[in-house]
Symmetry: C2
């Protein structure tokens, strides 16, 4: 299988230089980028007036949570969770979660996301949806033991069971990740065992850390230190760890994350909507920490649109610092692509010969994206997810001209509606 994408504005290489060129994909790799490629290909896409961008890497989400989009908003976090989200989540079956994952993956395909890091439950069901959708999924079962030793063992067992099922599916697009939920919901025993298992099995770890001030208070009360210091002291941190949020980090925390090569998944939309706070982005970047971008779940965002998320990131840090030069367009674009790929050790996030063919083609023939004064600026500040026209993952076209080829859109949406009707 080969695909030739003709005559687009290509965002090329690690520096994201914009060049008018053709892109040739052979198998699951980008094989050539240059002006006027003469070779023929199985599929030819005319990208005149389009931008050929690396696909987006959503580094933190809960893909099946689309059910709960708009179900309750404008509420304090704990009221929102306890009154609305948790009671409904408790009633979700394995099949429901799969239906939710179809909705989430459909939404991601339609907005140019090609890879995502997920945390939920019944992840073996999510894996089946990801397989059908054609995306690249890093899937973690969210472990919560609340300090109960029986629960610790059960949670570890469930994670390992889901890992085995996912590995049995034997897809190069599915990756199991260990997902202890957070230091305030997991015992040290669980965290230590996760660390041991991840090293033994060569898996990544993702975990919520320092999302809210309330969390900081709890950990301080229980352990007398910050969540990051705690994780460091038990030897949990490493370059295979991706922490989500990292809103409330002090200078010592930041030094520790930098020293351990930890990646931080920034979720500005969720942090703003839940009023969690503002991540110290500039300090993290200055310390040399790899920062990626995530949407969090659709219940706290309320969509999975990485283009919108880039704008939120850029705008939030400018106004918070009263400095328009911070979080410039290229920095934020890199967070949403290359930094995310780097975090999961994927040879993607860049349009260049030899990289995986994970690509989003964005239609710039629209009034809000013209004149084409600056492609990267337009993607960050002017575009939105609906502007993505074609999504390619692993050399396979998942959406062409807004038509999703791998999923039945109506069926997926109808399925999600039925689940929420039953739960209400």
């Amino acid at each position: 299988m080969s695909i030739l994408i003709r005559n687009g504005y290509v965002i090329y290489g690690e520096n994201f230089d914009v060049v008018k060129a053709d892109v040739l994909i052979e198998g699951n790799r980008i094989s050539e980028v240059r002006r006027s490629i003469k070779e023929s290909a199985d599929t030819v896409i005319d990208a005149t007036g389009r931008v050929i961008s690396p696909g987006f890497v959503n580094l933190h989400t809960h893909s099946p949570m689309g059910f709960f989009r708009g179900l309750a908003d404008d509420l304090p976090l704990m009221e929102w969770l306890q009154k609305y989200i948790w009671p409904k989540e408790a009633r979700l079956t394995r099949e429901d979660v799969k239906v939710g994952a179809y909705l989430g993956t459909l939404e991601m395909i339609k907005s140019g996301t090609t890879t995502f890091m997920d945390m939920y439950f019944h992840m073996d069901a999510v894996a089946e949806a990801v397989l059908d959708a054609g995306l690249r999924g890093y899937l973690s079962y969210g472990m919560i033991d609340l300090g109960d030793p029986d629960k610790t063992e059960k949670e570890i067992d469930e994670a390992l069971r889901e890992m085995k099922v996912i590995e049995k599916l034997n897809s190069p697009r599915l990756y199991f990740v260990f997902g202890p939920h957070a230091p305030y919901t997991c015992s040290l025993a669980l965290l230590r065992e996760v660390r041991r298992l991840a090293s033994e099995k060569g898996k990544l770890i993702t975990i919520h850390v320092s999302e809210t001030m309330a969390e900081l208070g709890k950990i301080q009360e229980r352990y007398g230190k910050s969540p990051v210091v705690l994780l460091d002291e038990i030897g949990f941190l490493g370059s295979d760890v991706i922490i989500a949020h990292g809103v409330w980090l002090d200078s010592r925390d930041i030094q520790i994350l930098a020293r351990n090569g930890v990646t931080v998944a920034h979720n500005p939309g969720s942090n703003m909507k839940l009023a969690s706070g503002v991540m110290p982005l500039q300090k993290l970047l200055n310390a040399g920490i790899n920062v990626g971008l995530g949407t969090d779940g659709a219940a706290s965002n309320n969509n999975l649109d990485m283009l919108e998320e880039m704008k939120l990131a850029a705008l939030l840090h400018k106004v918070h610092n009263l400095d328009p030069t911070v979080a410039d367009a290229k920095t934020v674009f890199k967070m949403a692509t290359l930094n995310g790929a780097k975090a999961v050790r994927l040879n993607a996030g860049v349009i260049k010969e030899g990289y995986l063919a994970d690509i989003a083609i964005i239609n710039f023939n629209q009034p809000h994206l013209r004149p084409v004064n600056n492609v990267i600026s337009h993607l960050v500040y002017s575009a939105n997810g609906n502007d993505v026209e074609t999504t390619i993952v692993d050399g396979k076209i998942l959406m062409l001209d807004r038509e999703v080829l791998t999923l039945d859109e109506e069926k997926v949406i109808g399925g999600a509606e039925r689940v929420i009707e039953r739960l209400s």
Copy 2:
């Protein structure tokens, strides 16, 4: 001319209650809203799975500035203006401004804006574009005299000249507005004369006030008081005045604005991108001030998407106050519709019998807008401008199923590209 919109989710009345109903438009008014209207109509629109919303009122923009979208970002305000924007603006001809206004109006139609308040120059040319586009435009010539008495007279003369041309076009969709640029760029003589003329001629006034800390410093240095106190003392303020931005307002300023019935046009996207600061929204609302929403120009946003602007407004104030309950979805939706209409004294911003037929139909048959748990929440938190399918102003369809009927999209975009090529 009559239009029947069938079977949509109607956002009905001043309380924005969502009901499944049909909407009948006769002439330029909404004549009936109820389930299963049996009357026939000249045009019937099937709105199954769609939301029938009041069109958006963009209460502060500079519609021809789309030229400069992405031309320069991530810069301090004065460097941005002096190095990039002003030198190019100085070279714009009357015809160029008209071309820019076509691009701006096209973008607004495509994202469901039906009414906008504009400030720029060659507004008589902008008026011609608005007339063709079919939007409702409140058009102000931005007056700047920098304290030079010769300039004062010239600016007043130019405003009155443009007023006469616009009035001669004799359209119920065109309104002339007085637009002194700001207290720091206009002499007190100019401001006093504008106040006198506006009262005499029954026109609205719009003006930038308290946008940046630098502006506050200038006015403090020159007059020893805040911009709002200054304007109050010269008798400038009233219920016919719409101030744009209002970022740096203290309690006394807010009392003054409330007492005078002044409307504030909030521009969160621009205030964030230029790092101007955060408007004290809660204090303004608590004081009973009418607050509308605007995008500002496309050079500092970088689009004219009122759906995105609603999300920015809601999210900004939640995180700034560390309180997720402020700027709830309905409050922000009202700012973008009814409050804007109220500011310009227009019988619109609401879907209800007798109101002007200014309507946006939004396609909810998309994964990021399902399940339909909450229509207003989805519009504020999940939707974007591209989700708008049909735009109706004054009982006339400007866009149907994403096809703009009043403007030639390709021609408009091509024209804008040629202007910026010539200027670069």
